[in-house]
């Protein structure tokens, strides 16, 4: 090749051509690069909020400005018109339906009042209304700690951020009444900036850490269950972390099954309360929905909570996640039938069949537990010693833990029917073992009759039987609603006026 200098020297034009050709190629390459960049940036700006707020904005209405469809469907959880065979979204007084529960929870708040809950929309209202939270007269009295607010509102992460976690968990339930006013909502599960799913409750992150897992590794599909697992899990109050604070803790250190948790509690020698009749050190299982779901076939097949309880919805050429969180039985077409090509009636029948089969044995176990408690009381009356009673009371504790685990994990008989059936069976076994041991004690102390099954045909009779003064409780509640509640709302309104929102 001749040096280009020579050629260019002869024909200056050639030099210009080379220059221009290079220029054009570089220019076009640059254009391509910047167009790719621009289109990538588009995807970042695809979601541009109209209203700006921060992560701690507790008012769902404010988030709803940006996401009208999600927000409006979410507030459909105010609907209470759907009844399935056993549940639904209407409020059911469970103690009226099944007065045996009153005896099982004698000495514990649940004997006062227990309803099958309504939708998320009512989280704060129903907590204020239930007799379990009592009728406080100031921010220093009442039966319950602040911790009871933990699952009820996006005000909770806000408060934890403002005053610190330990401070939030301290004091009485009434001390945070004017702070926690918005029902469960957007900020509980979403990141304000990206709208990605987010875990906002520290105890779930800690439970993962103690199991040696990192919750940040969870896939998007897992997150669609984990945001629910922030609340629909078994928990207890740990009062030993910081003095005067009741921290929420999940008992998953040994595993997430019913036996592993029982072992965890036994090792801690933890009890929720001492039973009023039998004096057994009782455990209260609180809605281990997530743990039971994990044992079922749907979890195994990669189906998340949101797939059935918040399926995709079409509305005017738009698709979005239906935030009307509800029983899939009220929305079979978009939940079950995405995978199961069966008639609606048939699918519902399949669910009811599982529920019927489970509840039959669950009710039997309830009856056995009522008998065990009453018989244990008789044993004490006959003069049985602590030493004689201790192993029996442990059996009662374990039997009722299993019953409660099955009963309180709402939907468990569908989420994991075989596991729920197994749990109830082991419960029946322990309840009967306890009763056999009690008969030996009766024999020893010369009692050979049958201990009468108490007359607990109605809620009122059952509550009278365990010695609850319902009139007093109801009066206290009324006074609280008249005096303290309006004050809370006024204070909250005043505070929320000071929040910064950019329209």
């Amino acid at each position: 090749m001749k040096p280009i200098q020579e050629s260019v020297g002869k024909k200056p034009m050639l030099g210009w051509i080379i220059f221009l050709a290079t220029l054009v190629v570089v220019f076009l390459l640059g254009l391509l690069a910047s167009s790719i960049m621009e289109r990538r940036a588009e995807s970042v700006f695809a979601y541009t909020p109209q209203v700006e707020y921060n992560q701690w904005e507790p008012r769902n209405e404010v988030w709803g400005e940006n996401f009208p469809r999600e927000f409006e469907s979410y507030y459909n959880t105010a609907d209470t018109s759907f009844n399935s065979k056993y549940n639904g979204n209407a409020m059911i007084d469970m103690l009226e339906v099944d007065p045996r529960l009153v005896v099982l929870w004698a000495g514990y708040g649940f004997a006062k009042d227990y309803n099958q809950g309504r939708g998320h929309y009512y989280a704060v209202d129903d907590l204020r209304n239930t007799l379990r939270t009592g009728g406080p007269t100031s921010d220093k009295d009442g039966p319950m700690p602040s911790t009871c607010w933990t699952c009820k509102s996006p005000d909770v992460p806000r408060l934890m951020n403002e005053i610190g976690v330990a401070e939030y968990y301290s004091g009485k339930w009434s001390s945070k009444g004017h702070e926690v006013v918005n029902p469960i909502g957007c900020a509980d599960c979403h990141d304000a900036e990206t709208m990605n799913l987010k875990v906002t409750r520290p105890y779930l992150i800690e439970a993962f850490e103690r199991m040696g897992k990192d919750i940040n590794d969870a896939t998007h599909q897992e997150m669609r269950s984990l945001v629910c697992a922030q609340c629909h899990v078994e928990y207890y109050f740990n009062k030993n972390r910081v003095k005067g604070s009741a921290f929420v803790q999940l008992p998953w250190d040994k595993g997430m099954g019913v036996e592993e948790m029982e072992e965890y509690y036994d090792e801690l020698e933890f009890k929720d309360w001492t039973h009023k009749l039998s004096k057994a050190p009782m455990l209260k299982a609180q809605h281990p929905g997530y743990e039971v779901y994990l044992k079922g076939i749907h979890a195994d097949r990669g189906v998340s909570c949101a797939d059935c309880h918040m399926p995709y919805k079409s509305e005017g050429g738009q698709k979005f996640t239906d935030h009307h969180i509800q029983s899939p039985l009220n929305n079979v077409a978009n939940s079950c039938q995405v995978c199961h090509r069966e008639e609606t009636e048939k699918l519902i029948k399949n669910v009811y069949q599982r529920q019927d089969q489970i509840i039959e044995n669950r009710d039997k176990l309830e009856e056995l537990l009522v008998r065990a408690h009453v018989e244990a009381k008789k044993a004490w009356d006959l003069g049985a010693t602590e030493k004689e009673m201790k192993p029996i009371l442990m059996m009662i504790r374990h039997a009722q833990w299993r019953w409660d685990y099955a009963a309180a994990s709402h939907g468990g008989s569908f989420h994991a029917p075989t596991e729920t059936g197994r749990i109830i069976t082991t419960g029946v076994d322990r309840a009967q073992e306890a009763r056999i041991a009690l008969v030996r004690i009766f024999h020893k102390y010369g009692f050979d009759g049958e201990v009468a099954y108490p007359d607990i045909a109605t809620k009122a009779k059952a509550q009278k039987f365990i010695g609850l003064d319902m009139d007093k409780l109801n009066k206290e509640k009324e006074t609280f609603k008249k005096n303290l509640l309006p004050e809370w709302d006024k204070k909250a309104e005043k505070r929320e006026k000071t929040y910064k929102v950019k329209m």
Partner: protein, 199 residues
Amino acid sequence: MRKLFKFLTPPPQWKLPVLVSLGIFVGLGFYVLYLSKAASYLSDDPKTCVNCHVMAPQYATYQHSSHREVATCNDCHVPHNNVFNKYFFKAKDGLRHATMFALRMEPEVIFILEEGREVVHNNCIRCHSQTLTDPKLATQVPQHTHNTQGRVCWDCHREVPHGRVNSLSSVPNARVPVPSSPIPDWLQEYMEESKLENE
């Protein structure tokens, strides 16, 4: 060959500028490859398909369908009769998509082309051949043979798997794994820090 090589070799006094300019071109080329996440297109990961956010509705609807657990985009949308055909078709389709995307030619509602229809239909059969060749169905279901011939599966199974609403603006709030910023983390952090210092 040697002659050609000789012809192309620049004279000594030009070596440096030629190297530099070649470097610029190659560097720009790599930059374009990096920006467009070119390597990801070799995989079967559905996330690759939302490198362009235009595919968000398709990704989101698939993520909410029962096929989510058993199939990736490529399981249905590229041929599987042999490996050469697979990658040839994939490259052809990909280049067409890339061109249209770069030139902003994407329509508001994306429809599949005739070629793609055939590929998808054959892939339905690839997994579901049992339902087409089941003698029990053929004898018991009226019109079974007639219904399974001469039409595509989704003439009847219209909701599978993307549903029937697929415009570009049909899923405004879908949480789709679109590519994150091309700026590496260390640089991002440095930029954040200097921003704070200057405030």
